[in-house]
């Protein structure tokens, strides 16, 4: 697992952290406020709904009771009982039935909530199908939906059902009561109450509510809005425990959450149930949550801008530093860092500057060391061909030769001594061209002594050049080359040495009339070019002048080899410090 703080960009980290924090705070705030406020709202709602239902229940109980009392009074009416007993003759019976019909009709006229009144009895006669009062045969009662409730009781309210009237179908609740005279069961009085009236009571002043009216047995009589089965309450009847209460209903297929409040008064036959969609209760909480979310989103945006700005401010010096580091090269123009930071960035910048300075210093010392090392190498190379001890040995040999009378040998040894002397030159790397030529002449004289005759040489150097400097022992190897290789197997040869100034350069040519560089094409070039002496010269020149020199070997057209050495004009020997 990689530490993200090591992997990702700082501004990104800033934003993610801030946004994450705010999101967490926001989410928990929204959740907590939603939960608490919806719980409070649900509690409040159910409390007030319970109170309201109790009041409605009171009112409905009162009104329904008055209907029950009307029914009771009517059922005790002696005219009615006389009619139903059927003991009279036809005329009295007719007159009485007219009277009763009128009396009952007056009930419907003066109590507009009563839709109609039915009387079930033996020998129902002289009814009027267009009237509000109907007489029916007792047998017909069994066909009606309210009859079932009456089987076990002397009186009962029916569920909502519809009856036909002259003005079409009408929805009613019916209160039916068995009529007894002494102990004789004589018939049933059914008062049909307009369902809309009960419904408007149930509705109260809240037309959008969903309320259901049950009787004490849990039978649904009437509903405003959804009925029990529509609301998915039919199987939940056993949850109506005690006089009143609240529970939350979750209907499975539709997935609707609702709050169910129910209330039953101790002295009432009715239980009222109110169903409120959970979404309606918590709509306030939802609004709250939405508002918090929008505030949170605003805060998130602000935090985003703030972190963006912050990270920009923090990243700017770092970016500057990174850029400076990327473009850094020793000795080149340096990118200047702004100098007004005095905090951690200032320290960082100062550290970087100090580091740079140290790098520069280290680099300079490294260059110096390298120079010293090179010089040491050159000196070691010179020491290879300049063995000091030979000089002393030669001196002793000279003395031996003189003592032996060997003049020729003595002269050779003398010349060798001179050569060594020049070769040593107190350890100087550069000597004058004059000395160099002298050194060469010594060598040539030794060769002349060996040859006795035939070897000629010519030095054509303007005197102005003699004072100029040249790396020592650079000419002798070429001359030696001409004699050993060019004049091999010959008994005569001429060497011409020329020097000239060309601008700020000195050109020295060494020409011979020997066999030339015949071997060049025969595949053994190393013999002449790569011979120890020549290579030594080239390496030294390279060390002194870098690329600022040239040494070329070639054949002349008229025969013999030509060596051309070009190197910078040196008025003085180059200092050791360089």
């Amino acid at each position: 697992m990689v530490n993200p703080f090591k992997k990702y960009r700082i501004d990104l980290l800033f934003i993610v952290c801030f946004a994450g924090l705010i999101a967490i705070v926001l989410a928990s705030t929204v959740w907590i406020s939603y939960v608490i406020s919806s719980r409070e709202l649900a509690e409040n709602t159910s409390y007030y709904q319970k109170r309201l239902l109790e009041e409605l229940n009171n009112e409905i109980t009162g009104r329904m009771t008055s209907i029950e009392q009307v029914s009771l009074t009517t059922s005790r009416d002696s005219d009615l009982l006389t009619l139903m007993s059927g003991k009279e003759d036809a005329f009295s019976r007719y007159r009485r039935s007219m009277g009763i019909q009128q009396a009952l009709a007056h009930l419907t006229y003066s109590i507009p909530q009563i839709q109609a009144i039915d009387l079930y009895m033996d020998r129902p006669e002289w009814g009027d199908s267009q009237s509000y009062i109907h007489f029916h045969s007792l047998k017909e009662a069994e066909d009606h939906s309210w009859y079932k409730a009456l089987e076990k009781n002397d009186f009962a309210w029916s569920e909502e059902h519809s009856i036909s009237t002259i003005q079409g179908e009408a929805s009613v609740l019916s209160f039916s009561r068995k009529i007894y005279y002494n102990t004789r069961y004589m018939g049933i009085l059914v008062i049909h109450v307009k369902a809309d009236w009960v419904r408007s009571m149930l509705e109260g002043y809240s037309p959008d509510s969903n309320r259901i009216m049950l009787d004490s047995d849990g039978r649904e009589l009437l509903s405003v809005g959804k009925s029990m089965s529509e609301a998915g309450l039919s199987e939940q009847v056993d949850r109506f425990v005690g006089e009143s209460g609240v529970f939350r209903l979750h209907t499975q297929p539709q997935g609707i959450d609702s709050l169910v409040v129910y209330s039953k008064l101790a002295d009432s036959n009715w239980m009222l149930v109110e169903i409120t969609p959970w979404a309606q209760i918590t709509s306030g909480s939802l609004k709250l949550a939405v508002a918090i979310v929008s505030i949170g989103l605003g805060a998130l945006l602000l935090a985003f801008l703030l972190t963006f700005w912050l990270s920009r401010q923090f990243m700017k010096p770092i970016a500057q530093l990174v850029k400076a580091m990327k473009t850094y090269a020793v000795g080149e123009q340096k990118t200047e860092l702004v100098s007004d930071y005095s905090n951690e960035f200032g320290v960082l910048f100062a550290g970087y500057r100090k580091l740079n300075e140290r790098i520069e210093a280290l680099y300079a010392s490294l260059a110096r060391r390298y120079e010293e090392q090179r010089k040491a190498e050159i000196e070691a190379l010179q020491a290879n061909i300049n063995p000091h001890f030979l000089y002393n040995t030669l001196d002793q040999l000279n003395w031996i030769a003189i003592a032996e009378g060997q003049d020729k040998m003595s002269r050779i040894l003398e010349l060798m001594g001179q050569m060594f002397r020049i070769g040593l030159s107190h350890g100087e790397s550069f000597i004058t061209i004059g000395e160099e030529l002298k050194h060469m002449e010594c060598y040539l004289e030794i060769q002349q002594l060996r040859w006795e005759e035939g070897l000629e040489y010519e030095i054509q150097v303007p005197p102005s050049l003699l004072k100029l400097y040249i790396p020592k022992m650079t000419l002798q190897p070429f001359v030696e080359n001409s004699i050993i290789h060019g004049f091999n197997l010959r008994n005569s040869g001429t060497i011409v040495i020329q020097a000239a100034e060309a601008g700020d350069q000195i050109r020295i040519t060494i020409m011979d009339n020997g066999s030339g560089l015949a071997e060049k094409n025969a595949g053994t070039p190393n013999r002449r070019k790569g011979g120890y002496g020549l290579r030594n010269v080239k390496e030294r020149y390279s060390a002194y002048f870098g690329k600022d020199f040239s040494i070329t070997l070639d054949n002349q057209e008229q025969g013999g080899a030509i060596v051309e050495i070009v190197f910078p004009r040196l008025e003085a020997a180059p200092g050791k410090s360089e």
Binding site: F91, Y94, A105, D128, S129, L288, A291
Partner: protein, 437 residues
């Protein structure tokens, strides 16, 4: 735990405060806008109005009236109706009960006979100033007037005559009656059909104690009204005895239904009307009701004038009136509707002659030439009655119960054979003393 709860509440409160600050502006705007909306609505002419309208009648009249209400709502969408309609039985009881509770409908149909009582109790709103009356047939207006003010608007005029089962008479091989026939013809016809009647078939209803039929007989005998306009009992004993004895004879001969069957008759009830059931051949009818019977058994019936004697038996009368409740909360709109109902040609076309020949002369004029066949029969009765028909009178104030309570008792006693014609006359005369001033 408590601390945490408190913290939560504080957090919620904080957020809520923020929200309130944010939402406050919007809510304030709404609150400001609402009252102005309400006030403008209450001032505008299109305020929603629901008018209760109540009438009695038969099915065709209900249908025509409901159609007219529908058309009015279509034209005036802010006005809707709560119709209450029924048959004639119990109508006055219901209306009186509601009026006693000041809960009567805004607009209700009135019988000419009730108007004087209602105006004297100040239960009708003055209408003359609210409604255009210049197209109304002038002879129909006086009944709705009191002290020179119009309290009820006449809807139409009808003739009082008889309806008979033409198809049944033809089947029995009896010549149907002609307009202008006499009471002698009537009773002779009864004797003529007597042997031909099937079991459970009768000539006519037991009209022995029927106020209207006896009135017609009384008029025909030249004995004028049963109660004088100044409130005096005016039944001619001889005429009463002749009438009731004739019916006693019919009853004994089985030409009128036995009492319990007779009592079960409900005029124009498809199941309980004895004419519709084919149990009786004749019964009285107003000209406008022909279409109702015709709709129950098409082409079977015909109308004929009320039998006459020295004078004509039938009469023309304003069928019914519309009145406005003084307790109505929408008198202006209700009066507008009544005006439309009476004077608008479109309304007239829908309503036809359901309440008799329209009281609006112009509408009647345009309607009569194009009447459908069924309604022409009613027109024929009106034309036959017009030349020498009796002058209709509503009778004096305060006698409604004499007609509605005392007469029915005598009617039933006669029908059930509980009294004799002489005793019946005595009891009527005795009862009338309560009403005489």
């Amino acid at each position: 735990m408590m601390k945490w709860k408190r913290l939560q509440i504080v957090a919620v409160l904080l957020v809520a405060t923020l929200l309130l600050a944010a939402c406050g502006g919007g809510k304030g705007d709404n609150a400001g806008a609402k009252p102005s909306d309400n006030s403008s609505a209450s001032n505008s002419a299109s305020e929603k109005v629901k008018l209760r309208v109540m009438w009695w009648g038969s099915q065709p009249r209900h249908e025509a009236t409901l159609k007219a209400l529908e058309l009015y709502t279509e034209k005036n969408p802010h006005v809707t109706f709560e119709p209450e309609y029924s048959g004639m039985d119990g109508y006055l009881d219901k209306l009186s009960t509601q009026a006693a509770a000041h809960n009567e409908p805004d607009i209700f149909q009135m019988d000419p006979g009730w108007i004087s009582d209602w105006t004297s109790r100040n239960q009708l709103e003055e209408l003359g100033s609210k409604i255009k009356l210049d197209e109304i047939t002038p002879s129909l207006l006086p009944i709705g007037e009191k002290d020179g003010k119009q309290f009820a608007v006449p809807l139409g005029s009808v003739a009082f005559g008889m309806i008979y089962d033409k198809a049944a008479l033809e089947k029995l091989g009896v010549t149907p009656p002609q307009d202008g026939w006499t009471w002698d013809d009537f009773f002779a016809l009864a004797e003529e059909v007597k042997p031909k009647l099937a079991k459970d078939q009768y000539f006519t209803l037991d009209y022995a104690g029927n106020y209207f039929m006896f009135s017609a007989f009384h008029y025909a005998k030249g004995k004028d009204v049963l109660i004088t306009d100044d409130g005096k009992f005016n039944i001619d004993e001889a005429a009463f005895l002749e009438w009731t004895k004739k019916f006693e004879q019919l009853r004994n001969e089985g030409l009128v239904p036995p009492a319990d069957l007779n009592a079960s008759d409900k005029e124009m009830d498809p199941t309980a009307d004895l004419l519709v059931n084919g149990k009786v051949l004749f019964r009285y009818s107003f000209s406008n009701n022909y279409t109702t019977w015709d709709s129950m058994k098409e082409g079977a019936y015909d109308l004929v004038t009320m039998p006459r004697a020295e004078e004509a038996g039938g009469w023309l009368k304003p069928s019914m009136f519309l009145s406005l409740s003084p307790n109505s909360k929408h008198k202006e709109e209700a009066a507008k509707f009544i005006d439309w109902f009476v004077n608008d040609p479109e309304a007239g076309a829908i309503l036809g002659t359901a309440r008799g020949v329209p009281a609006n002369a112009k509408i009647a004029e345009s309607l009569i030439p194009n009447l459908p066949e069924g309604e022409k029969v009613g027109m024929k009765l009106i034309d036959a009655t017009t030349p020498d028909g009796q002058t209709f009178t509503t009778g004096p104030e305060g006698w409604v119960n004499f007609i509605d309570k005392d007469w029915p008792l005598v009617r039933d006693e006669l029908s059930f054979g509980r009294t004799t014609p002489e005793k019946a006359y005595e009891s009527l005369k005795k009862a009338s003393q309560e009403y005489e001033q």
